[in-house]
Protein backbone atom coordinates (compact mmCIF):
# COMPACT_ATOMS: atom_id res chain seq x y z
CA UNK A 1 0.00 0.00 0.00
CA UNK A 2 1.66 3.28 -1.10
CA UNK A 3 2.54 5.77 1.63
CA UNK A 4 2.48 9.51 0.96
CA UNK A 5 4.22 12.23 2.97
CA UNK A 6 2.51 15.63 3.02
CA UNK A 7 4.37 18.73 4.22
CA UNK A 8 2.00 21.45 5.38
CA UNK A 9 2.75 25.17 5.13
CA UNK A 10 4.29 25.35 8.62
CA UNK A 11 6.50 22.33 7.98
CA UNK A 12 4.32 19.78 9.80
CA UNK A 13 4.58 16.35 8.19
CA UNK A 14 1.54 14.10 7.86
CA UNK A 15 1.95 10.65 6.49
CA UNK A 16 -0.51 7.95 5.52
CA UNK A 17 -1.22 5.14 3.10
CA UNK A 18 -4.11 4.11 0.89
CA UNK A 19 -4.75 1.17 -1.40
CA UNK A 20 -6.13 3.29 -4.21
CA UNK A 21 -7.84 6.59 -4.97
CA UNK A 22 -6.11 9.93 -5.42
CA UNK A 23 -3.51 11.75 -3.38
CA UNK A 24 -6.17 14.41 -2.64
CA UNK A 25 -8.55 11.80 -1.19
CA UNK A 26 -5.79 10.49 1.05
CA UNK A 27 -4.98 14.05 2.17
CA UNK A 28 -8.62 14.59 3.17
CA UNK A 29 -8.65 11.36 5.17
CA UNK A 30 -5.48 12.46 6.97
CA UNK A 31 -6.81 15.98 7.56
CA UNK A 32 -3.89 17.63 5.80
CA UNK A 33 -4.26 21.39 6.37
CA UNK A 34 -4.55 23.39 3.16
CA UNK A 35 -5.99 20.57 1.07
CA UNK A 36 -9.75 21.07 0.66
CA UNK A 37 -10.57 19.08 -2.48
CA UNK A 38 -13.86 20.90 -2.77
CA UNK A 39 -14.88 19.81 -6.26
CA UNK A 40 -14.01 16.15 -5.69
CA UNK A 41 -11.67 15.93 -8.68
CA UNK A 42 -13.61 17.74 -11.43
CA UNK A 43 -10.71 20.20 -11.90
CA UNK A 44 -13.00 23.06 -10.90
CA UNK A 45 -11.57 24.45 -7.67
CA UNK A 46 -7.76 24.25 -7.45
CA UNK A 47 -7.95 23.63 -3.67
CA UNK A 48 -5.70 20.56 -3.72
CA UNK A 49 -2.61 22.17 -5.25
CA UNK A 50 0.68 20.52 -4.25
CA UNK A 51 4.33 20.73 -5.22
CA UNK A 52 5.78 17.30 -5.94
CA UNK A 53 9.27 16.75 -4.48
CA UNK A 54 11.92 16.81 -7.27
CA UNK A 55 12.85 13.14 -6.93
CA UNK A 56 9.19 12.13 -7.42
CA UNK A 57 8.25 14.33 -10.35
CA UNK A 58 9.07 11.79 -13.03
CA UNK A 59 7.06 9.00 -11.41
CA UNK A 60 4.12 11.27 -10.51
CA UNK A 61 4.11 12.66 -14.02
CA UNK A 62 3.75 16.22 -15.28
CA UNK A 63 0.63 18.37 -14.83
CA UNK A 64 -1.89 17.93 -17.61
CA UNK A 65 -3.00 20.92 -19.66
CA UNK A 66 -6.25 21.05 -17.67
CA UNK A 67 -4.26 21.27 -14.42
CA UNK A 68 -2.03 23.98 -15.84
CA UNK A 69 -5.08 25.95 -16.98
CA UNK A 70 -6.51 25.73 -13.46
CA UNK A 71 -3.33 26.73 -11.65
CA UNK A 72 -1.40 29.06 -13.95
CA UNK A 73 -2.48 32.27 -12.18
CA UNK A 74 -1.78 30.93 -8.69
CA UNK A 75 1.12 32.75 -7.01
CA UNK A 76 2.69 29.40 -6.09
CA UNK A 77 2.34 27.81 -9.53
CA UNK A 78 5.55 26.31 -10.86
CA UNK A 79 7.14 23.30 -12.58
CA UNK A 80 6.48 21.08 -9.53
CA UNK A 81 2.76 21.97 -9.40
CA UNK A 82 0.09 19.30 -9.59
CA UNK A 83 -3.53 19.02 -8.57
CA UNK A 84 -3.34 16.18 -6.06
CA UNK A 85 -6.79 14.95 -7.18
CA UNK A 86 -5.17 14.05 -10.50
CA UNK A 87 -2.37 11.93 -9.01
CA UNK A 88 -3.70 8.38 -8.78
CA UNK A 89 -2.06 6.20 -6.14
CA UNK A 90 -0.13 3.22 -7.48
CA UNK A 91 2.50 0.96 -5.89
CA UNK A 92 5.20 2.90 -7.78
CA UNK A 93 4.31 6.01 -5.76
CA UNK A 94 5.14 4.42 -2.39
CA UNK A 95 7.06 7.13 -0.51
CA UNK A 96 5.73 10.05 -2.60
CA UNK A 97 6.46 13.41 -0.94
CA UNK A 98 4.47 16.57 -1.69
CA UNK A 99 4.31 20.09 -0.27
CA UNK A 100 0.91 21.78 0.20
CA UNK A 101 0.89 24.70 -2.26
CA UNK A 102 -2.59 26.19 -1.88
CA UNK A 103 -2.66 29.87 -1.00
Amino acid sequence: MPTVRFREKDGTIREGAAEDGSVMELALRLGVRGIEGQCGGSISCGTCHVHVAPEWQERAGPATQAEIDMLEFEPTFGPASRLSCQIVLTPELDGLTVDVATT
Binding site: E36, Q38, C39, G40, G41, S42, I43, S44, C45, A66, D69, M70, F73
Partner: protein, 374 residues
Protein backbone atom coordinates in the same frame (compact mmCIF):
# COMPACT_ATOMS: atom_id res chain seq x y z
CA UNK B 1 -10.87 37.92 -37.24
CA UNK B 2 -13.37 39.72 -35.05
CA UNK B 3 -12.76 39.40 -31.33
CA UNK B 4 -15.92 37.81 -29.96
CA UNK B 5 -14.70 37.73 -26.38
CA UNK B 6 -15.90 41.26 -25.62
CA UNK B 7 -18.78 43.53 -26.58
CA UNK B 8 -19.18 47.18 -25.61
CA UNK B 9 -22.59 48.16 -24.26
CA UNK B 10 -23.69 51.70 -23.39
CA UNK B 11 -25.18 52.03 -19.92
CA UNK B 12 -27.58 54.93 -19.75
CA UNK B 13 -27.31 57.07 -16.66
CA UNK B 14 -28.82 60.47 -15.83
CA UNK B 15 -25.38 61.51 -14.62
CA UNK B 16 -23.77 60.58 -17.93
CA UNK B 17 -23.85 57.50 -20.10
CA UNK B 18 -21.05 54.98 -19.81
CA UNK B 19 -19.56 52.58 -22.34
CA UNK B 20 -18.78 49.33 -20.55
CA UNK B 21 -16.81 46.50 -22.12
CA UNK B 22 -18.63 43.24 -21.39
CA UNK B 23 -16.08 40.43 -21.14
CA UNK B 24 -17.72 37.25 -22.38
CA UNK B 25 -14.92 34.92 -23.44
CA UNK B 26 -13.55 32.45 -20.88
CA UNK B 27 -9.89 33.23 -21.46
CA UNK B 28 -10.40 36.99 -21.43
CA UNK B 29 -12.52 36.81 -18.28
CA UNK B 30 -10.09 34.63 -16.37
CA UNK B 31 -7.21 36.91 -17.33
CA UNK B 32 -9.12 40.00 -16.20
CA UNK B 33 -10.06 38.40 -12.88
CA UNK B 34 -6.44 37.67 -12.12
CA UNK B 35 -4.89 40.89 -13.47
CA UNK B 36 -5.88 43.11 -10.54
CA UNK B 37 -3.21 45.67 -11.33
CA UNK B 38 -4.93 46.51 -14.62
CA UNK B 39 -8.53 45.75 -13.62
CA UNK B 40 -8.96 47.19 -10.16
CA UNK B 41 -11.54 46.38 -7.49
CA UNK B 42 -10.53 49.42 -5.41
CA UNK B 43 -13.77 51.40 -5.77
CA UNK B 44 -16.76 52.38 -3.67
CA UNK B 45 -19.83 50.83 -5.24
CA UNK B 46 -18.55 50.43 -8.81
CA UNK B 47 -17.77 46.69 -8.78
CA UNK B 48 -21.33 46.05 -9.92
CA UNK B 49 -22.64 47.31 -13.24
CA UNK B 50 -25.27 49.66 -11.80
CA UNK B 51 -23.23 51.67 -9.28
CA UNK B 52 -24.08 51.31 -5.61
CA UNK B 53 -21.98 54.23 -4.42
CA UNK B 54 -25.02 56.02 -3.01
CA UNK B 55 -26.53 52.99 -1.29
CA UNK B 56 -24.01 52.89 1.60
CA UNK B 57 -21.30 55.16 2.96
CA UNK B 58 -18.72 52.42 3.59
CA UNK B 59 -16.92 50.09 1.20
CA UNK B 60 -17.60 46.38 0.93
CA UNK B 61 -14.54 44.72 2.47
CA UNK B 62 -12.40 43.04 1.24
CA UNK B 63 -14.29 43.02 -2.08
CA UNK B 64 -13.63 46.68 -2.88
CA UNK B 65 -9.88 46.55 -2.25
CA UNK B 66 -6.85 45.45 -4.25
CA UNK B 67 -3.84 43.55 -2.94
CA UNK B 68 -1.91 44.00 -0.72
CA UNK B 69 -4.60 45.61 1.54
CA UNK B 70 -7.14 43.10 0.22
CA UNK B 71 -4.92 40.14 0.99
CA UNK B 72 -4.51 41.08 4.66
CA UNK B 73 -8.20 41.61 5.36
CA UNK B 74 -9.17 38.51 3.45
CA UNK B 75 -6.65 36.35 5.30
CA UNK B 76 -8.02 37.64 8.61
CA UNK B 77 -11.62 36.59 7.88
CA UNK B 78 -10.86 33.50 5.80
CA UNK B 79 -10.94 30.96 8.69
CA UNK B 80 -14.53 31.93 9.53
CA UNK B 81 -15.65 31.06 5.99
CA UNK B 82 -13.82 27.70 6.07
CA UNK B 83 -16.13 26.35 8.78
CA UNK B 84 -18.33 24.66 6.11
CA UNK B 85 -15.52 22.14 5.62
CA UNK B 86 -16.22 20.54 9.01
CA UNK B 87 -18.51 17.54 9.56
CA UNK B 88 -20.56 19.31 12.27
CA UNK B 89 -21.38 22.12 9.91
CA UNK B 90 -22.42 19.71 7.15
CA UNK B 91 -24.77 18.03 9.62
CA UNK B 92 -26.57 21.29 10.39
CA UNK B 93 -26.94 22.14 6.70
CA UNK B 94 -28.25 18.62 6.06
CA UNK B 95 -30.97 19.11 8.65
CA UNK B 96 -31.94 22.51 7.23
CA UNK B 97 -32.14 21.06 3.71
CA UNK B 98 -34.21 18.14 4.98
CA UNK B 99 -36.70 20.47 6.71
CA UNK B 100 -37.08 22.54 3.54
CA UNK B 101 -37.80 19.36 1.58
CA UNK B 102 -40.43 18.37 4.18
CA UNK B 103 -42.33 21.56 3.33
CA UNK B 104 -41.83 21.12 -0.41
CA UNK B 105 -43.24 17.59 -0.36
CA UNK B 106 -46.13 18.53 1.95
CA UNK B 107 -47.37 21.43 -0.19
CA UNK B 108 -49.72 20.93 -3.13
CA UNK B 109 -47.86 23.63 -5.03
CA UNK B 110 -44.73 25.60 -4.28
CA UNK B 111 -43.62 28.86 -5.82
CA UNK B 112 -40.02 27.70 -5.70
CA UNK B 113 -38.01 30.91 -5.33
CA UNK B 114 -40.01 32.70 -2.60
CA UNK B 115 -41.37 29.61 -0.82
CA UNK B 116 -38.47 27.14 -1.01
CA UNK B 117 -35.18 28.67 -2.12
CA UNK B 118 -35.41 31.92 -0.17
CA UNK B 119 -36.27 30.32 3.20
CA UNK B 120 -33.62 27.63 2.73
CA UNK B 121 -30.99 30.18 1.69
CA UNK B 122 -31.80 32.28 4.76
CA UNK B 123 -31.75 29.35 7.21
CA UNK B 124 -28.48 28.13 5.75
CA UNK B 125 -27.03 31.63 5.96
CA UNK B 126 -27.73 31.67 9.71
CA UNK B 127 -25.42 28.65 9.86
CA UNK B 128 -22.71 30.34 7.82
CA UNK B 129 -22.94 33.54 9.85
CA UNK B 130 -23.33 31.74 13.18
CA UNK B 131 -26.60 33.51 13.99
CA UNK B 132 -29.72 32.12 15.70
CA UNK B 133 -31.89 30.29 13.17
CA UNK B 134 -34.87 32.52 14.07
CA UNK B 135 -32.96 35.45 12.59
CA UNK B 136 -33.49 33.84 9.18
CA UNK B 137 -37.22 34.64 9.45
CA UNK B 138 -36.39 38.33 9.33
CA UNK B 139 -34.08 37.89 6.35
CA UNK B 140 -36.83 35.98 4.50
CA UNK B 141 -39.09 39.00 4.88
CA UNK B 142 -36.58 41.11 2.92
CA UNK B 143 -37.72 39.18 -0.19
CA UNK B 144 -35.76 38.31 -3.33
CA UNK B 145 -33.64 40.52 -5.57
CA UNK B 146 -33.19 42.63 -2.46
CA UNK B 147 -29.86 44.19 -3.09
CA UNK B 148 -30.29 44.65 -6.80
CA UNK B 149 -27.73 45.12 -9.52
CA UNK B 150 -26.81 41.47 -9.72
CA UNK B 151 -28.35 41.78 -13.14
CA UNK B 152 -27.06 44.36 -15.56
CA UNK B 153 -29.52 47.21 -15.72
CA UNK B 154 -31.31 46.55 -12.43
CA UNK B 155 -31.44 49.79 -10.46
CA UNK B 156 -30.61 49.46 -6.77
CA UNK B 157 -33.67 49.75 -4.55
CA UNK B 158 -32.75 52.43 -2.02
CA UNK B 159 -35.35 51.41 0.57
CA UNK B 160 -34.14 47.83 0.64
CA UNK B 161 -30.51 48.92 0.52
CA UNK B 162 -31.14 51.10 3.58
CA UNK B 163 -32.72 48.18 5.42
CA UNK B 164 -29.59 46.09 4.93
CA UNK B 165 -27.29 48.90 6.05
CA UNK B 166 -29.47 49.45 9.13
CA UNK B 167 -29.39 45.73 9.94
CA UNK B 168 -25.63 45.21 9.64
CA UNK B 169 -25.07 48.43 11.61
CA UNK B 170 -27.32 47.25 14.43
CA UNK B 171 -25.75 43.80 14.53
CA UNK B 172 -22.22 45.20 14.44
CA UNK B 173 -23.13 47.26 17.51
CA UNK B 174 -24.70 44.22 19.21
CA UNK B 175 -21.94 41.78 18.19
CA UNK B 176 -21.23 40.71 21.77
CA UNK B 177 -24.82 39.41 22.11
CA UNK B 178 -24.12 36.81 19.40
CA UNK B 179 -21.02 34.89 20.46
CA UNK B 180 -19.53 32.82 17.65
CA UNK B 181 -21.31 34.84 14.97
CA UNK B 182 -19.66 36.66 12.08
CA UNK B 183 -20.37 39.96 13.83
CA UNK B 184 -18.64 38.71 16.97
CA UNK B 185 -15.72 37.27 14.99
CA UNK B 186 -15.24 40.57 13.16
CA UNK B 187 -14.97 42.39 16.48
CA UNK B 188 -12.07 40.12 17.46
CA UNK B 189 -10.02 39.39 14.33
CA UNK B 190 -6.73 41.19 13.89
CA UNK B 191 -5.15 42.42 10.67
CA UNK B 192 -1.51 42.30 11.61
CA UNK B 193 -1.48 44.09 14.96
CA UNK B 194 -4.68 46.09 14.55
CA UNK B 195 -8.37 45.20 14.87
CA UNK B 196 -10.75 45.75 11.96
CA UNK B 197 -12.14 49.27 11.76
CA UNK B 198 -15.87 49.84 12.16
CA UNK B 199 -16.24 50.45 8.42
CA UNK B 200 -14.37 47.23 7.67
CA UNK B 201 -16.69 45.29 9.98
CA UNK B 202 -19.74 46.83 8.33
CA UNK B 203 -18.31 46.20 4.88
CA UNK B 204 -17.56 42.52 5.46
CA UNK B 205 -21.00 41.94 6.97
CA UNK B 206 -22.67 43.81 4.11
CA UNK B 207 -21.14 41.72 1.35
CA UNK B 208 -21.75 38.53 3.32
CA UNK B 209 -25.46 39.24 2.97
CA UNK B 210 -25.57 40.76 -0.49
CA UNK B 211 -23.12 38.42 -2.21
CA UNK B 212 -24.63 35.20 -0.97
CA UNK B 213 -28.30 35.92 -1.31
CA UNK B 214 -29.73 36.05 -4.83
CA UNK B 215 -26.84 33.92 -6.05
CA UNK B 216 -27.61 31.03 -3.69
CA UNK B 217 -31.34 31.42 -4.32
CA UNK B 218 -30.76 31.10 -8.08
CA UNK B 219 -28.69 27.96 -7.49
CA UNK B 220 -31.33 26.31 -5.29
CA UNK B 221 -34.16 27.10 -7.72
CA UNK B 222 -31.99 25.81 -10.57
CA UNK B 223 -31.51 22.46 -8.82
CA UNK B 224 -35.26 22.01 -8.34
CA UNK B 225 -35.74 23.01 -11.99
CA UNK B 226 -33.18 20.43 -13.14
CA UNK B 227 -34.97 17.60 -11.36
CA UNK B 228 -38.37 18.77 -12.64
CA UNK B 229 -37.18 18.99 -16.23
CA UNK B 230 -34.90 15.95 -16.20
CA UNK B 231 -36.11 13.09 -13.98
CA UNK B 232 -33.24 10.95 -15.30
CA UNK B 233 -30.78 13.33 -13.62
CA UNK B 234 -32.64 12.92 -10.33
CA UNK B 235 -32.60 9.14 -10.74
CA UNK B 236 -28.89 9.12 -11.55
CA UNK B 237 -28.00 10.95 -8.33
CA UNK B 238 -30.42 8.84 -6.30
CA UNK B 239 -28.62 5.75 -7.57
CA UNK B 240 -25.13 7.21 -7.16
CA UNK B 241 -25.01 10.02 -4.58
CA UNK B 242 -21.28 10.48 -5.24
CA UNK B 243 -22.32 11.97 -8.58
CA UNK B 244 -23.58 15.01 -6.64
CA UNK B 245 -20.02 16.32 -6.37
CA UNK B 246 -19.25 16.75 -10.09
CA UNK B 247 -22.95 17.54 -10.67
CA UNK B 248 -22.64 20.49 -8.29
CA UNK B 249 -19.79 21.88 -10.38
CA UNK B 250 -21.74 21.35 -13.59
CA UNK B 251 -24.80 23.12 -12.19
CA UNK B 252 -22.64 25.97 -10.95
CA UNK B 253 -21.31 26.25 -14.50
CA UNK B 254 -24.70 26.09 -16.17
CA UNK B 255 -26.61 28.24 -13.69
CA UNK B 256 -23.72 30.65 -13.03
CA UNK B 257 -25.49 32.09 -9.97
CA UNK B 258 -23.58 35.35 -10.15
CA UNK B 259 -24.36 36.90 -13.50
CA UNK B 260 -22.11 39.91 -13.69
CA UNK B 261 -19.68 42.05 -11.69
CA UNK B 262 -17.46 44.92 -12.81
CA UNK B 263 -13.89 46.15 -12.54
CA UNK B 264 -12.38 49.56 -13.22
CA UNK B 265 -9.31 50.09 -15.39
CA UNK B 266 -7.65 53.17 -13.83
CA UNK B 267 -4.72 53.46 -16.23
CA UNK B 268 -6.14 51.84 -19.37
CA UNK B 269 -5.17 48.50 -20.84
CA UNK B 270 -6.39 45.79 -23.14
CA UNK B 271 -8.78 42.91 -22.79
CA UNK B 272 -8.58 40.30 -25.53
CA UNK B 273 -8.00 42.49 -28.57
CA UNK B 274 -10.12 45.32 -27.20
CA UNK B 275 -8.39 48.46 -25.90
CA UNK B 276 -9.67 49.78 -22.57
CA UNK B 277 -9.52 53.53 -21.92
CA UNK B 278 -8.20 54.95 -18.63
CA UNK B 279 -11.07 55.01 -16.17
CA UNK B 280 -13.28 52.73 -18.27
CA UNK B 281 -15.08 49.83 -16.64
CA UNK B 282 -15.35 46.24 -17.78
CA UNK B 283 -18.23 43.88 -16.91
CA UNK B 284 -17.46 40.26 -16.05
CA UNK B 285 -19.98 37.92 -17.69
CA UNK B 286 -19.52 34.70 -15.74
CA UNK B 287 -22.46 32.87 -17.28
CA UNK B 288 -21.36 33.56 -20.81
CA UNK B 289 -17.73 32.61 -20.16
CA UNK B 290 -18.93 29.38 -18.57
CA UNK B 291 -20.46 28.44 -21.90
CA UNK B 292 -17.43 29.29 -24.04
CA UNK B 293 -17.25 26.49 -26.62
CA UNK B 294 -13.47 26.87 -26.78
CA UNK B 295 -13.30 25.49 -23.22
CA UNK B 296 -16.48 23.49 -22.66
CA UNK B 297 -17.48 20.88 -25.24
CA UNK B 298 -21.22 21.07 -25.97
CA UNK B 299 -21.48 23.99 -23.55
CA UNK B 300 -25.29 24.04 -23.50
CA UNK B 301 -25.53 20.37 -22.55
CA UNK B 302 -25.73 19.45 -18.87
CA UNK B 303 -23.28 16.62 -18.21
CA UNK B 304 -23.44 15.76 -14.53
CA UNK B 305 -20.01 14.12 -14.64
CA UNK B 306 -18.28 16.77 -16.77
CA UNK B 307 -14.51 16.77 -16.30
CA UNK B 308 -12.48 18.89 -16.53
CA UNK B 309 -14.90 21.61 -15.55
CA UNK B 310 -12.88 24.78 -14.92
CA UNK B 311 -15.96 27.01 -14.56
CA UNK B 312 -15.68 30.54 -13.21
CA UNK B 313 -18.92 30.53 -11.21
CA UNK B 314 -17.00 31.56 -8.08
CA UNK B 315 -14.63 33.80 -9.99
CA UNK B 316 -10.87 33.30 -9.99
CA UNK B 317 -7.89 35.02 -8.44
CA UNK B 318 -7.72 37.17 -5.32
CA UNK B 319 -11.47 37.87 -5.15
CA UNK B 320 -12.71 34.29 -5.71
CA UNK B 321 -15.91 33.78 -3.72
CA UNK B 322 -15.29 33.47 0.02
CA UNK B 323 -18.61 31.68 0.51
CA UNK B 324 -17.88 28.95 -2.03
CA UNK B 325 -17.47 26.11 0.48
CA UNK B 326 -20.87 26.91 2.00
CA UNK B 327 -22.55 27.21 -1.40
CA UNK B 328 -21.06 23.95 -2.65
CA UNK B 329 -22.10 22.09 0.48
CA UNK B 330 -25.65 23.42 0.26
CA UNK B 331 -25.95 22.46 -3.42
CA UNK B 332 -24.59 18.94 -2.84
CA UNK B 333 -26.83 18.42 0.14
CA UNK B 334 -29.94 19.47 -1.79
CA UNK B 335 -29.02 17.38 -4.83
CA UNK B 336 -28.62 14.22 -2.74
CA UNK B 337 -31.51 14.69 -0.32
CA UNK B 338 -34.09 15.82 -2.88
CA UNK B 339 -33.21 12.87 -5.14
CA UNK B 340 -33.51 10.50 -2.19
CA UNK B 341 -36.91 11.74 -1.05
CA UNK B 342 -38.80 13.01 -4.11
CA UNK B 343 -40.09 10.70 -6.82
CA UNK B 344 -41.48 13.29 -9.20
CA UNK B 345 -41.50 17.07 -9.56
CA UNK B 346 -44.06 18.58 -11.97
CA UNK B 347 -43.82 22.11 -13.31
CA UNK B 348 -47.17 23.91 -12.94
CA UNK B 349 -46.08 27.33 -14.13
CA UNK B 350 -42.78 28.72 -15.40
CA UNK B 351 -41.52 32.11 -16.56
CA UNK B 352 -37.87 31.99 -17.64
CA UNK B 353 -35.50 34.78 -16.62
CA UNK B 354 -35.20 37.43 -19.32
CA UNK B 355 -32.04 38.15 -21.28
CA UNK B 356 -30.20 41.00 -19.59
CA UNK B 357 -27.28 41.72 -21.87
CA UNK B 358 -24.89 39.25 -20.33
CA UNK B 359 -25.93 36.46 -22.69
CA UNK B 360 -26.46 33.80 -20.08
CA UNK B 361 -30.06 32.74 -20.55
CA UNK B 362 -30.60 28.99 -20.49
CA UNK B 363 -33.04 26.52 -19.09
CA UNK B 364 -32.41 26.66 -15.34
CA UNK B 365 -33.04 30.30 -14.41
CA UNK B 366 -36.59 31.39 -13.73
CA UNK B 367 -38.34 34.57 -12.81
CA UNK B 368 -41.14 32.34 -11.61
CA UNK B 369 -41.24 28.56 -11.20
CA UNK B 370 -44.18 26.80 -9.58
CA UNK B 371 -43.93 23.05 -8.95
CA UNK B 372 -45.72 20.18 -7.29
CA UNK B 373 -43.28 17.74 -5.69
CA UNK B 374 -44.06 14.31 -4.31
Amino acid sequence: MTDLSTVTIRRQDPEGDEDIIFVRGFRALKTALNDWRTFSSDTHGFNVVTPQDKTRDFKQYPFELDPPEHTEVRAAIDPFFKRPLTADYAGVIGRQVSQAIDSLLAAERTDVTPEFSLPLQSRALTTLLGMPESEGDLWVRWGTNVFGALRAGDPPDQGRADALVAYVTEMTDRAAEFPGSLFDALSRVMVGDRPLSRDERLGVAHISFSGGRDTVIAMLTGIVALYAKDPAAMAAIRENPALAMPATEELLRVISPLRVLARTCPHGGQIGETPVAPGQRIALCYGRANRDPAVFAEPDAIRLDRKPNPHLAFGSGPHACLGNAHARLLARSLLVELARRATQIDILDAVPDPETGTGDVHGLRFERLVVAAR
